[in-house]
C-alpha cells in the first residue's frame, strides 16, 4: 500500500501547510486534515501494534470507531495516550508517537506472542499460572501486568483547565450530517431552541465525503450553506468538536466539547474541554451508520481499510489509500468506493464481491470477481497482495490496499443507554434503535435510511413533527434535490469462510474468529459470556466495528438468528471522555467550597495555623515566637485559659433560629432531654438522638422569648441537624406551628473563657454580667458599649468561667480586636480548636470523636438526660432495646497512664492485663487522647466494656499500629474541677 495525496480535490486547505511529527519523523499535512489523513498522505501505514499479539496495524476507519490507529499525542504533562488518529484534527506542531511496541514500531519484541498464539487462546490465563502457588504473585502476574494496556499515561499534574456548562433546548440534534442539518434547519426556522452537536471539527458529516450533489452543487457546499444559515439563527446553537456521549434520565444528554484540543499553544483564558449537560425537550439521533468490516484471513494487515473510509480520505482529504486498490464487498457500498476512487484516477485492481449476483455497476474496465472471498493477505507491515478464492480456486491479486465493506449498522448507541435493547431488523440485517418514546428518535442513516435524499427528508419530517408537537409551526420548504445518488444494499456476511490465517473480529484486542469458537465450546456462548471470556468488544473502541460481527458469528455457530443472540449492553460513554472534562473546574482546592469564618481575618492577624473542619477553615493554634512545635503553643494556650483568659472563634457552630407557638413542643420532641419548660433567658445542653436511639448530635438550646428559641449544633453536623429538623417539621409533625431558619452566617461567635473572662468582657459589654445578674446558663440579647447589638451566652466548653458572645458577622473582627485589647492587662490569648479540644478533654466533655454514630447517651455517661417521662421524642422507643441497654456495653471512662511519661493516642484498643490480643478479648477503644498540661501527663477518653464499674482497674492500651503498648488506669472521665467550681464562678 502506498498512500499519497491526490493532486487536487478534497476539502483541505492546500495553502496552509502544517508540520507535525510521528515517532520523531517530521511530516507535513494541510489544514483540514486529520492526523490519519495526513499520515496516509505521507504513506505512513504502520501506526501501532495490537494489544495481545503485537501485530502491526494501520488505519482502518476515518472516524471514532477506529480500533488500530491509536497514538500518543503530546509530551510531558500534556500527554494524551490512546488517541485515535482518525478523529485528531491536525495542527502545526503536533507530535504523535506509536504505542505498545518495544524497542520500535518496526521491530517489536512483543510480536513473539503471535507465534505463541495457540497457547494464548481466549481465557488461557484462567487455566494456568497456578503452580507453584506463590509464583502467580511473584512471577506470572508481574509479567502479565507489564503487557497491560496500550498507551502510557504520565500521571503528571495536567496544566489544562476544564469546565462544565448547562444548556436547555427544545430540540437537540446529535450529528450534523444530512439528516441532522436538515432537522436543525427545519426546527430552527420554526423558532425552536435548537442545539446541534457534532463530534467533527467540520459540520456536514457524510455530505463532506460524497460525490453526490445537492441542489446542483457539491454536497459539501450544501452543508456549508446550511451551517451558515443555522449560524445566523439566534435560537440555534452549533457545537462542533462536541461528542454527545450519554443519554440520561429525563432526556438529559452529556456532551464533551474539545475547546482547545486542536491548538498547539492553548490560551489560558479558555478551557481545554467542556462538558455540556443538555436538557432537551426532544432529541434526534442523527448519528449515521457504521460500515462493517469483513472477517477474513489476514484482515488486519496495514492497508486493509473500510471501503467508506477510503472514500472519505479521497473525497474529503484528497488522499488515496493506495496506488493499486482492491475492494472486497458484500454490498453496493464497495462499488461506490470503487467509482469514487476511479473517478480520481486511482487504479482499482478488482472488486471481489462475496455475492453471486448484484445490480451494482463497477466502474468501466474494472474486473469484478463474484461469489468470491478474500482468504488471506500478503505482506508484513504493509499489504502487498491478497489471496482470492472462488469455487475452490485461489488467485493472488497484487494490490497495496484493500477496501472492505460488509454492509451497515445504524449507530444506535445513545438510544440503548437506558436499558432498552436494540431490535434486530431482518429487513435491514441490522440492529436498529428501540422505540424509547418521543424524547429521542433516530433519523437518517441511524434510522436505517441510507440514501442521501431520504436522509434529508427524514430529518426535515421528524423535525417538523417535533415542532408541531411542541406548538411551533414548521414551514414546508422545498426538499433539496439530490443528484447522482444510489440505493444501498448488501447481504450480511459475518465470517468469510476459508481463512488461511487469523481472521480478526476485534482488531485491537486481537480476538479472532477461532476465539469465539473456543468460547462457545467451553460454554461461553451467551453474548455477554463470549465478550467477557474473549474480551471481544472491550477495547478502547468498545467494539464499534467488531460487535456486530461477533454477534453474527455466534449466531452462525449456534444456528440461531442474531436476534436470538442479542447485543451486549450499551453504556456511556459513546466514545471515551477525559476525567478532567467530566470533573470540570471542581478539582484541587476547588473540589469543595471553602467556608471562612467572619473571624478568619482576626485569626490571621493573630498568626493562626488553620485546619480543615468539613468545609470550614478553622484556627487550630496560634504559634508564638520561640515555640518549636504545635504542642508548645497548645499547652501554653490551655494553661493560659485555665489561669487567665482566652478567646476562641466558635462561629462555625451551626445556629438555628426557631419560632412559633409550637417551637417548645417541637424542640421537646427533637431532644431526648426536656426542653418544654426551658425558661426565657436560659440555655440548656441538649442531646438529639436518631430514631434508633443512638446519639445524633449535641449542642445547646436557648430561649430568647416564649416563641423564639436558638439552637446550636456542632460544626460538622450543622447541615444534617437542619435537615433533620426540616424532616421532622415537614413530614412527621406538619401541624406544629413552628418555623426556623439558619443564622450560622449572620453571627461571629467567640468563646471568652478563663477565670478572668468576666473582667475582660465587662469592659466592652453594656450591663451587669456578674454571676448574680448573669449566672451559668443565662442568655441575653445585649448591646456592646460600642453600640453593636449582640447576644451573650453563659456557657462553657472548657470547664472554665466562660461566655460566648455573638455579634453580627461584619463586626466580628472589630469586636474580637476590642476584646483582645481589653484583655491584654489580663494576659488574654487567642486559642484554637486544638487547645479547645484539650480543655474539653480535661473536663470530660464530648465531641464526635466520642459520638461516632454507635454510642447511646448511657454509653457516654449521659443516660440521666433521657427524659423517659416525655410521651415521645425522636429515638425514645428504640433506645430501650436489649442490645442498647445491655450491661456489657462499652461505656465512657477516663484513662491515665500508670507510667506518667507514657503517651496515649486515639484509636488504640483496650485489653485486660494478661490477655492476648484477639477480637474476643477486645475490651474497648480510645476515642480521644492528648497531653494535659494541667496534670502534666497524657489523658484519654475511652469506651470500655462495662467501664463505669471498672474505675481503678489497670488495662493495656494496645496500639499495635504504632507498635506501642502501655498500661493505664481506668478513671472518671472528668479530670479537672469535677465539682464545677470554676465553671460557676
Amino acid at each position: 500500500m502506498t498512500g499519497y495525496r491526490l493532486s487536487s480535490g478534497g476539502l483541505v486547505d492546500r495553502s496552509k501547510t502544517l508540520s507535525f511529527t510521528f515517532d520523531g519523523r517530521p511530516l507535513r499535512g494541510f489544514a483540514g486534515d486529520t492526523l490519519a489523513s495526513a499520515l496516509l498522505a505521507n504513506d505512513q501505514l504502520l501506526i501501532g501494534r495490537s494489544f495481545k499479539y503485537h501485530r502491526p496495524r494501520g488505519i482502518v476507519s476515518a472516524g471514532p470507531s477506529e480500533p488500530n490507529a491509536l497514538v500518543t499525542i503530546g509530551s510531558d504533562a500534556r500527554t494524551d495516550p490512546n488517541t485515535k488518529a482518525t478523529v485528531t484534527e491536525l495542527y502545526g506542531g503536533l507530535t504523535a508517537k506509536s504505542q505498545n511496541r518495544w524497542p520500535s514500531l518496526g521491530f517489536d519484541v512483543g510480536a513473539v506472542n503471535g507465534m505463541l498464539s495457540p497457547f494464548l487462546g481466549a481465557g488461557f490465563y484462567y487455566k494456568t499460572f497456578m503452580w507453584p502457588k506463590q509464583f502467580w504473585e511473584r512471577v506470572y502476574e508481574p509479567f502479565i501486568r507489564r503487557a497491560a494496556g496500550l498507551g502510557r499515561a504520565v500521571l503528571e499534574r495536567d496544566p489544562e483547565t476544564y469546565e462544565k456548562s448547562w444548556a436547555f433546548c427544545d430540540l437537540l440534534v446529535v450529528g450534523a450530517g444530512p439528516a441532522g442539518l436538515m432537522a436543525a434547519l427545519t426546527a430552527g426556522r420554526a423558532g425552536l431552541r435548537v442545539i446541534v452537536a457534532d463530534e467533527d471539527f467540520r459540520l456536514g458529516g457524510s455530505l463532506l465525503a460524497t460525490g453526490e450533489t445537492v441542489d446542483g452543487a457539491p454536497a459539501s457546499v450544501f452543508a456549508d450553506r446550511t451551517v451558515a444559515e443555522l449560524q445566523a439563527l439566534p435560537n440555534v446553537t452549533l457545537l462542533s468538536r462536541t461528542t454527545v456521549f450519554g443519554w440520561y434520565d429525563d432526556n438529559v444528554f452529556g456532551a464533551v466539547e474539545r475547546v482547545q484540543k486542536h491548538i498547539a499553544e492553548p490560551s489560558s483564558k479558555l478551557v481545554s474541554e467542556r462538558v455540556w449537560r443538555i436538557v432537551a425537550k426532544r432529541a434526534l439521533m442523527a448519528t449515521g451508520a457504521e460500515e462493517r468490516p469483513l472477517v477474513f484471513g489476514g484482515n488486519d494487515r496495514p492497508g486493509v481499510m473500510m471501503a467508506g473510509a477510503m472514500t472519505t480520505y479521497a473525497e474529503r482529504y484528497g488522499v488515496a489509500a493506495g496506488k493499486q486498490i482492491t475492494i472486497f464487498t458484500s454490498g453496493s457500498a464497495g462499488y461506490r468506493t470503487a467509482r469514487a476512487l476511479a473517478s480520481k484516477g486511482v487504479a482499482i485492481a478488482a472488486i471481489v464481491d462475496a455475492r453471486a449476483e448484484s445490480a451494482d455497476q463497477a466502474p468501466d474496465g474494472i474486473r469484478v470477481i463474484r461469489s468470491a472471498s478474500v482468504v488471506d493477505t500478503k505482506g508484513r507491515q504493509r499489504l502487498k497482495g491478497i489471496v482470492v478464492e472462488r469455487s475452490g480456486f485461489e488467485e493472488l491479486i497484487v494490490c497495496d490496499a484493500l477496501g472492505m465493506s460488509g454492509g451497515f449498522s445504524p449507530v444506535v448507541h445513545l438510544a440503548c443507554q437506558r436499558g432498552a435493547r436494540p431490535v434486530w431488523s431482518e429487513e435491514l440485517k441490522a440492529f436498529v434503535a428501540p422505540d424509547v418514546g418521543g424524547g429521542l428518535r433516530a433519523v437518517g442513516a441511524a434510522n436505517g435510511v441510507y440514501t442521501l435524499s431520504s436522509c434529508l427528508s427524514d430529518g426535515a419530517e421528524k423535525a417538523a413533527a417535533i415542532a408541531a408537537d411542541l406548538g411551533f409551526r414548521a414551514s414546508s420548504a422545498a426538499a433539496p434535490v439530490v443528484d447522482g445518488e444510489e440505493a444501498t444494499s448488501f447481504s450480511a456476511l459475518w465470517y468469510v469462510p476459508g481463512a488461511k490465517s487469523k481472521a480478526f473480529v476485534d482488531f485491537q484486542n486481537d480476538v479472532h474468529a477461532k476465539d469465539l469458537g473456543l468460547a462457545l465450546r467451553e460454554g461461553f456462548g451467551h453474548v455477554e459470556h463470549a465478550k467477557r471470556y474473549t474480551t471481544s468488544g472491550m477495547a478502547t473502541d468498545q467494539g464499534k466495528l467488531s460487535n456486530i460481527n461477533a454477534v453474527g458469528i455466534l449466531a452462525g455457530m449456534r444456528g440461531v438468528s442474531p436476534a436470538d443472540v442479542g447485543t451486549t449492553t450499551f453504556r456511556p460513554f459513546y466514545t471515551p471522555v477525559s476525567f478532567g472534562a467530566l470533573a470540570g473546574a471542581a478539582r484541587d482546592e476547588h473540589a469543595a467550597p471553602a467556608r471562612k469564618s467572619p473571624l478568619h481575618g482576626w485569626a490571621m492577624k493573630n498568626g493562626a495555623t488553620f485546619i480543615e473542619a468539613g468545609l470550614w477553615h478553622r484556627s487550630a493554634w496560634f504559634p508564638r515566637a520561640g515555640e518549636k512545635t504545635w504542642r508548645d503553643s497548645v499547652d501554653r494556650e490551655v494553661l493560659n485559659v485555665r489561669a487567665n483568659v482566652g478567646l476562641c472563634d466558635v462561629s462555625t457552630l451551626g445556629k438555628i433560629e426557631v419560632f412559633g407557638p409550637d417551637a417548645a413542643e417541637f424542640l421537646n420532641r427533637l431532644y431526648c432531654n426536656p426542653v418544654l419548660k426551658l425558661p426565657v433567658g436560659k440555655a440548656r445542653y441538649g442531646l438529639m438522638l436518631r430514631e434508633d436511639g443512638v446519639v445524633f448530635d449535641d449542642g445547646t438550646v436557648s430561649r430568647f422569648d416564649e416563641e423564639h428559641f436558638f439552637v446550636t449544633t456542632t460544626t460538622a453536623m450543622a447541615g444534617p441537624v437542619m435537615a433533620h429538623m426540616e424532616y421532622c417539621a415537614q413530614t412527621l409533625w406538619p401541624d406544629l406551628e413552628v418555623r426556623f431558619t439558619s443564622s450560622t452566617d449572620q453571627w461571629a461567635q467567640m468563646a471568652i473563657a478563663g477565670p478572668k473572662a468576666r473582667a475582660v468582657l465587662q469592659q466592652i459589654v453594656d450591663g451587669d454580667i456578674s454571676d448574680d445578674a448573669f449566672p451559668f446558663l443565662s442568655v441575653r440579647k445585649i448591646a456592646l458599649k460600642s453600640g453593636v447589638s449582640a447576644r451573650l451566652f453563659r456557657i462553657s466548653f472548657s470547664g472554665e468561667l466562660a461566655f460566648e458572645l455573638a455579634v453580627p458577622a461584619g463586626y466580628g473582627e472589630a469586636v474580637a480586636d476590642q476584646i483582645m485589647e481589653a484583655g491584654r492587662p489580663h494576659d488574654i490569648c487567642a486559642y484554637g480548636v486544638e487547645a479547645l479540644n484539650v480543655l474539653r478533654l480535661e473536663k470530660g466533655l464530648l465531641t464526635h470523636a466520642e459520638f461516632d454514630g454507635r454510642v447511646t447517651p448511657d454509653d457516654a455517661g449521659l443516660g440521666r438526660m433521657l427524659s423517659m417521662q416525655k410521651t415521645d421524642f425522636i429515638g425514645k422507643r428504640l433506645s430501650t432495646r436489649y442490645g442498647l441497654t445491655a450491661a456489657d456495653r462499652m461505656q465512657l471512662v477516663g484513662l491515665k497512664p500508670v507510667d506518667a511519661d507514657k503517651d496515649m493516642r486515639a484509636g488504640a484498643h483496650l485489653l485486660k492485663e494478661g490477655t492476648k490480643p484477639s477480637t474476643l478479648n477486645d475490651q474497648g477503644w480510645v476515642s480521644s487522647a492528648g497531653f494535659s498540661p494541667v496534670l502534666g501527663h497524657a489523658i484519654a477518653l475511652a469506651f470500655l466494656r462495662s467501664g463505669r464499674e471498672r474505675y481503678g482497674e489497670k488495662v493495656i492500651v494496645f496500639d499495635k499500629l504504632r507498635d506501642q503498648e502501655i498500661v493505664a488506669e481506668v478513671c472518671d472521665p472528668v479530670f479537672v474541677d469535677p465539682q464545677n467550681a470554676k465553671l460557676k464562678a
Binding site: D249, E726, Y727, Q730, T731, L732, P734, T871, L878
Partner: protein, 92 residues
C-alpha cells in the same frame, strides 16, 4: 428522574440540588404502638421494583421535603408533592 426533579415550589431542578432521605410510604408510629410496628418503621422497607414513594429534600432550593412517586425500574417520575401536604392528605 435521576437527572431532574420538578419541585412543586421551584420548578425543574437538577438532581444535585437534592438529598434523598428514603422511603416515604409509611408514617411514624404512635408512641404506644407495638415494638414490631416501631421496628418495621425504622428498619423494614418494602423496596418495591416499580412504583415507590420516596422523600427527596430540596436542600439547595426551597429546603422542603418532597414526596416523589417514581418507578425504581424505569426511573419515571409520576408525581412530586410537598411532604407536609402529603402528610396532611394522608392524615385525612
Amino acid at each position: 428522574m435521576a437527572s431532574l426533579i420538578t419541585c412543586p415550589h421551584c420548578g425543574l431542578r437538577p438532581k444535585e440540588e437534592f438529598a434523598i432521605r428514603g422511603d416515604a410510604s409509611r408514617g411514624r408510629p404512635e408512641p404506644m404502638d407495638s415494638d414490631e410496628a416501631w421496628h418495621d418503621y425504622v428498619y423494614v422497607r418494602a423496596n418495591p421494583r416499580g412504583r415507590t414513594l420516596e422523600h427527596w429534600h430540596h436542600v439547595a432550593g426551597c429546603r422542603r421535603f418532597l414526596v416523589v412517586e417514581r418507578d425504581t425500574a424505569t426511573h419515571e417520575v409520576y408525581s412530586v408533592v410537598d411532604a407536609a401536604e402529603f402528610a396532611r392528605r394522608a392524615a385525612q
